[in-house]
Symmetry: C2
Subunit: 490 residues, 2 copies
């Protein structure tokens, strides 16, 4: 029982966990190899041929690996040469339950799915009579605490932009004096010229190193890397410094608290003084693309209070952090916010996208203000429902919490042995959402492939682990043993 206790599990919980683990094994591991399979140098001849074929048709300069998805299985990604790598990047953190997951294959083969694919509705005008049930049994079933409403979208960028639009409409409605106050003729007319007051001069505050997407509004809040932003016109919106934490967080509590206070003071200042009034603050519970940067629950509670003080909305961007990988379904569940965010955006592992919102007050006062042709995609919503069912059936959120603790412990050992390649290990208590810095990061990632591991980077020199929710202790062992070899070779 000591291992259980160490993992923070009660005996009842443990029984449930072990039964889930058996189900998990039965569900997946039959098709997985026992370990990575390396048959050729990477890329192999077949991969090279397919890359060449693709070059004239599509962007291949960012290509990382040519994949044969039909041969990929569970936590393993296959290439056309028969190589199979343990995948802890998972399509930039967007595959939840492994490749060729049998439960999802079943969900994707039903008449309901075929119907959703070939009869795609314009959901705002012509919803299906099954749409309410699809939402209630899927997307809304896992709604963050306190956020009972949803507006569906297609991916993370548009989910964030729709949330921004809702925030701007809410702000102007408040300024106008309520939901029932109509637009002025001047507003109606100036909006058509892209001028205030109809197109108001309002902003969204985001954080340095934050990533919120790459369309024009979302990119104006993205502050990750110049290559993401160069040559694209942007709105004059403010950015605050995300707390510059030192890791492990608990060993630097005092100085981290100072950094968090400095960040909050800056937010406070910007909300009072920025030249374009702020309608909402957007933040990731863990800054992901920007380098896996963490802050304490206390920081987020105080940030929530600060947005209240200034009468601006708080949007939690859970596009990458959401759907179970951190050991809670939503990463911001770790913060125990008494006063939940006003909106939570999601996509990636959910396959669909959208924003949850707190109150019907955030619904624009008239129809056709928040509207587009498709307004989401029932086919993806059905897929997410199947994912939600499988996460519950196999208790996968508890799984990532448990396996994450195990993996973190093993990485701590590596960091002790190779401190120069595993700096700033972070993500303790955050499931498998773990990262570390490695000065030779790009070489590190390349070498990991030669040891059968597909792994991703983030920020200037971080290695981010984004295994699927089905990642288990034995996968963690394979990963750590390979990273050990990588470190030896660097």
């Amino acid at each position: 029982m000591s291992a259980l206790r160490a993992a923070g599990l009660s005996p009842v919980r443990a029984v449930r966990t072990f039964s889930s683990q058996r189900a998990l094994r039965a569900a997946f591991y039959g098709d997985e190899p026992a370990a990575p399979v390396l048959k050729t140098a990477l890329p192999g001849p077949e991969s090279k041929r397919h890359i060449e074929e693709l070059r004239s048709a599509f962007e291949t300069r960012s290509l990382n690996m040519m994949v044969d998805y039909t041969k990929s299985a569970g936590n393993y990604i296959a290439d056309p040469d028969g190589n199979m790598l343990l995948d802890v990047y998972a399509q930039i953190a967007s595959i939840p339950l492994g490749y060729n997951n049998p439960a999802l294959a079943k969900a994707a083969s039903t008449p309901e799915m075929v119907d959703a694919i070939i009869n795609r509705p314009a959901l705002g005008n012509f919803p299906s009579h099954t749409w309410a049930a699809i939402l209630q049994s899927g997307i809304l079933k896992v709604a963050p605490r306190g956020l009972d409403n949803v507006f569906t979208a297609m991916a993370g960028s548009d989910a964030n932009e729709l949330a921004y639009k809702a925030a701007f409409m809410y702000r102007r409605q408040q300024e106008r004096g309520g939901r029932d106050v109509d637009f002025t003729p001047e507003e109606l007319e100036s909006a058509m010229r892209n001028e205030a007051p109809g197109s108001p001069n309002l902003s969204i505050l985001s954080f340095r190193n934050g990533f919120h997407g790459r369309l024009f509004g979302s990119l104006s809040t993205t502050r990750s890397k110049p290559i993401h932003k160069l040559d694209v016109p942007a709105f004059d919106w403010p950015q605050a410094t995300f707390p510059q934490s030192r890791y492990p967080l608990d060993q630097h509590a005092e100085e981290n608290a100072k950094a968090e206070k400095a960040s909050l003071d800056e937010v406070d200042h910007l909300l009072s003084t920025w030249r374009v009034p702020v309608a909402a603050v957007i933040i990731e519970p863990i800054q992901s693309e920007g380098g896996d940067n963490h802050a304490s629950p206390d920081f987020f509670r105080k940030l929530r209070a600060l947005t209240r003080k200034h009468g601006v909305l708080l949007i939690m961007d859970e596009v990458q952090t959401g759907v179970g990988a951190t050991g809670r379904f939503w990463a911001h569940d770790h913060f125990d916010l008494e006063d939940p965010p006003d909106m939570v955006t999601f996509s990636k592992k959910a396959q669909t996208g959208g924003y949850y919102f707190r109150s019907r007050d955030l619904l624009p006062n008239k129809p056709y203000r928040q509207f587009n042709t498709w307004m989401g995609d029932p086919a993806k919503a059905i897929l997410f429902r199947a994912i939600v069912d499988e996460v519950a059936r196999l208790d996968l959120v508890a799984n990532t919490a448990r396996v994450g603790d195990y993996l973190y412990g093993r990485l701590e050992e590596l960091a002790r042995r190779y401190p120069e390649h595993f700096e700033n290990l972070r993500g303790k208590g955050r499931g498998t959402y773990i990262a570390f810095d490695s000065p030779k990061r790009d070489e590190f990632l390349a070498k990991a492939k030669t040891h059968g591991i597909n792994i991703g980077g983030c920020g200037p020199s971080s290695v981010r682990l984004r295994p699927m929710l089905t990642f288990q202790e034995h996968h963690a062992d394979i990963l750590v043993d390979a990273l050990d070899k990588v470190a030896k070779e660097l």
Copy 2:
């Protein structure tokens, strides 16, 4: 043969057409009712129950009709009460081949589709070894003349925004002195603050009444209605007047030419003088959401020349007009442009989205500049490939040309009998892409439902016909007879 000659068909073409029509009938009409079925008042009791159920979960204020897609068939849309309406709105012009199309059902049931759904790749990093073939046999097979490259997206709004980003990157690259000239430290640093020169002050010129989407960049070019734009911050981008044509176009050639010259002069002036330099002009071949506004091929040829003169790009937005409904696969094919547009955007009937582009010069000079997690969706690209195959097999572009001419002729009769309800009939020679103005438009649309027709509006008082590509003469007869009754009752 006289009917053939009147329809502009050669005997060889006619044989092919009649054989396609037989195939079309075999493919679809078995499941269609012979005429609309009206069992209850609209909405009926079952529809009302489902609307009530949906109200707490989703936006229902814009709901037009609750639909049972499983019972919908071909050109007929069904509701949960067993009513079946002839659908000439087709999910805001986004259903190409009818409901429950058997060929698409087959394509949606293959192992290839299941694989694409459950193993969704991050296409820029981890494309499937089948992706090149999917593109070549689908999206690229129908690439507009002169545009051999594509970047895939998910819907119309993001397709347009990605095209804008490509235009801005191209413009700055020209200003910088070419593809190989690197960014300056000042650019790298200012981009992170959303300031010039890194985030340049550049614009996209669009036209009054144009519609290009509702995200922040696309909405800044959308000039349809205030309700689409109010309370959303917008870029300071210019708009020109779309030619104010009188209809029928050929009977007002001289004054329309004057209106077109006035529009071109305004574009010329704005491109020279607008306070934010213009990188690209975007235009729809037929302004759709904004009221089905047409201009002559000559206008578009001159607009193309004008963009050349000013060194700005031309983006043709074919999101609504594309994929066959106008009697050509792309509506701008009607213009016989010697010098094609630089980019053509698409979505809706294509189910996927994206932009075609003319030259690899428009590809940003480095990877990760035009990039996002999914970069499109192979499942939708596979669906579009099946649509492309079916359009070819059944010769559906010729079908819309022929049926459109027939329908236009019958509507001309109605317009002669009820000139007050069928004003400015337009779309002659543009397939089934037909519209007219009706001062009592909203009442017109509501009454059409009571006669078994689902039909949509656009602009302030227009009725737009957007039947599917499978719409036939006998459907046109049902439609026209119902509209005759509507007009009598108004």
